[in-house]
């Protein structure tokens, strides 16, 4: 832990350098204009100070050329800042394929994190260095925000929907994790640490967890316990759509629209099934709102995602058509 007077945060992610570069450009522009204005005001105020009690200023009312200049130049600068910031933003908001997935549930006043392999953490996140990590986050109650200053990333975490966040840590170490959206009494202490480890160390840590099994296997148990398999059969004979290959595919709805079957779609289908009805099927599915927790929903999603992984057997069926948002490192087969 640092004492003393820190003035600048450490950089520990692949994006941090780019954020700081834009920051320094903005700082340079800000310093330049602050200085110029201050110097000019002080200089004019001194050079043109009143010499006689009844003296007035010169008869000058304006200059269209100057006005144009000091509208156009700031506008150009502003557009440069916008463009740079926007392109950086797209990078920040676009998770890469093949990222390691972690699922996060925030609630008053703690973070519950879940690795697909089964490891659970509270207020701590262990990740390997040099690897893309994608977080899928939701809240159980109010709006929170997952903020890691050393990585220069944050996202609001909302109840009722998923947010995503990605990063690639570049230095082993421990970095602050803060909640950055006011959420009630203990908002300030709803934080923790992100621990970045060497890959080998991380594997050791990962396999040292409890033997409860992976997220997907827990989801599979739940899938059967809640009788989902009754309607969602793999042989397409069920009253509900087949779920093999679903995740990542485009789904055609009864009203003609097509939607991507991502985490949010699956969550909504479990908690508010009437919202989107798949073409060719009836609106029969009951809602599981109140019957499953957010973490259980994530387990079910992990299981359903595992149904889209290519099977390692010879002559394997091709993976599901359409986009496949990054596949997890699940080591267990469904």
């Amino acid at each position: 832990m640092q004492g003393g007077l820190p003035l600048f945060p450490e950089r520990a992610s692949s994006i941090a350098g780019r954020v700081d570069a834009l920051f320094f450009f903005l700082l340079g522009v800000a310093l330049f204009f602050s200085l110029i204005i201050t110097v000019m005001i002080v200089y004019f105020a001194v050079k043109y100070r009143r010499r006689a009690p009844d003296q007035i200023g010169a008869l000058i009312t304006g200059s269209t050329n100057l006005e144009t200049a000091w509208m156009v130049i700031p506008l150009i600068l502003a557009m440069v800042m916008f463009g740079w910031g926007a392109s950086l933003f797209v990078s920040i908001k676009t998770p890469p394929r093949d990222a390691l997935e972690v699922y996060v549930v925030g609630k008053q006043w703690m973070w519950k994190l879940q690795h697909p392999e089964g490891q659970k953490e509270i207020n701590e996140l262990h990740v390997p260095v040099g690897r893309e990590i994608k977080l899928t986050l939701t809240s159980e109650d109010v709006i929170h925000d997952f903020f890691v200053p050393a990585f220069r990333i944050k996202t609001d975490v909302l109840p009722g929907r998923y947010s995503t966040l990605w990063f690639k840590a570049t230095r082993p170490g421990q970095y602050h994790l803060f909640c950055a959206q006011y959420c009630g009494t203990n908002h300030a202490i709803m934080g923790g640490w992100v621990t970045v480890m060497e890959p080998a160390e991380f594997q050791t840590w990962l396999s040292g967890g409890p033997a409860e099994g992976s997220l997907a296997s827990a989801g599979e148990k739940l899938f059967h316990a809640l009788a989902c398999a009754t309607c969602h059969r793999s042989d397409s004979q069920g009253r509900g759509p087949k779920l093999d290959g679903l995740y990542g595919s485009m789904v055609r709805l009864g009203n003609g629209q097509s939607v991507l079957a991502d985490e949010g779609y699956i969550r909504q289908s479990i908690l508010n099934p009437k919202a989107k009805i798949v073409a060719g099927y009836q609106s029969l599915m009951p809602t599981f709102q109140g019957l499953v927790t957010e973490e259980q929903v994530l387990q079910l999603i992990a299981y359903i995602k595992s149904l889209s992984l290519p099977r390692p057997s010879p002559g394997a069926a091709p993976p599901a058509p359409g986009r496949t948002p990054s596949q997890g490192q699940a080591t267990k087969r469904p």
């Binding site: 009437k274 919202a275 009951p286 809602t287």
Partner: protein
Amino acid sequence: MPEGRSALVEHFRDLEQQREASSLGMWIFLVTEIMFFGGLFLAYTVGRSGYPAAFGEASRHLDVALGGINTGVLIVSSLTMALAVWASQTGKRKMLLGYLGLTLLLGLTFLTLKGVEYADKFHHHLVPGSAFSFPGAAARPAELFFSLYFAMTGLHALHMVIGVGVLAFLFRQARRGRYTAQYYTPVEMSGLYWHFVDIIWIFLFPLLYLIDRHR
């Protein structure tokens, strides 16, 4: 106050400036009202696009007949109000009183029918809150619909109540001869307000009562 005495208020230069100020003031006030109701219309739009089926189903529990009659009542009341303004502009006191009275009655009719509707909703457990009950799985979005229904029509009804109060005041003033062909600004401004409240209802009625009726 005898008829024809100047109603010029001290800080204005002349009646013309005073009238101009009153008119601009009322129009600006109506713009603020548009923004006020606008927030509710936005919330409705968001709810409707999120739950089109549920909103449609909930809407069918509203009484189109009563709503339709109320729409007619308000439209006619706008006519009588416009005629009242005309009567004041032309100095016809008796006619002014007549049309003001009619508008007032029509306004009260609207509020009475609204009250009947609200009571009916209460009896059918369609008032949001702990007593709310809606058949089927669309209960939650239906409750959202009814929240918006009560908020929007309630706010509108509040404006109607104020409008009725204003009309009663105008009636009293008109009886005392305060309005002449030279000075009828309050009647004119109140007319603007009344028409506005009418127009709000003309948007509310189809959005709340008529969606999904074609099924």
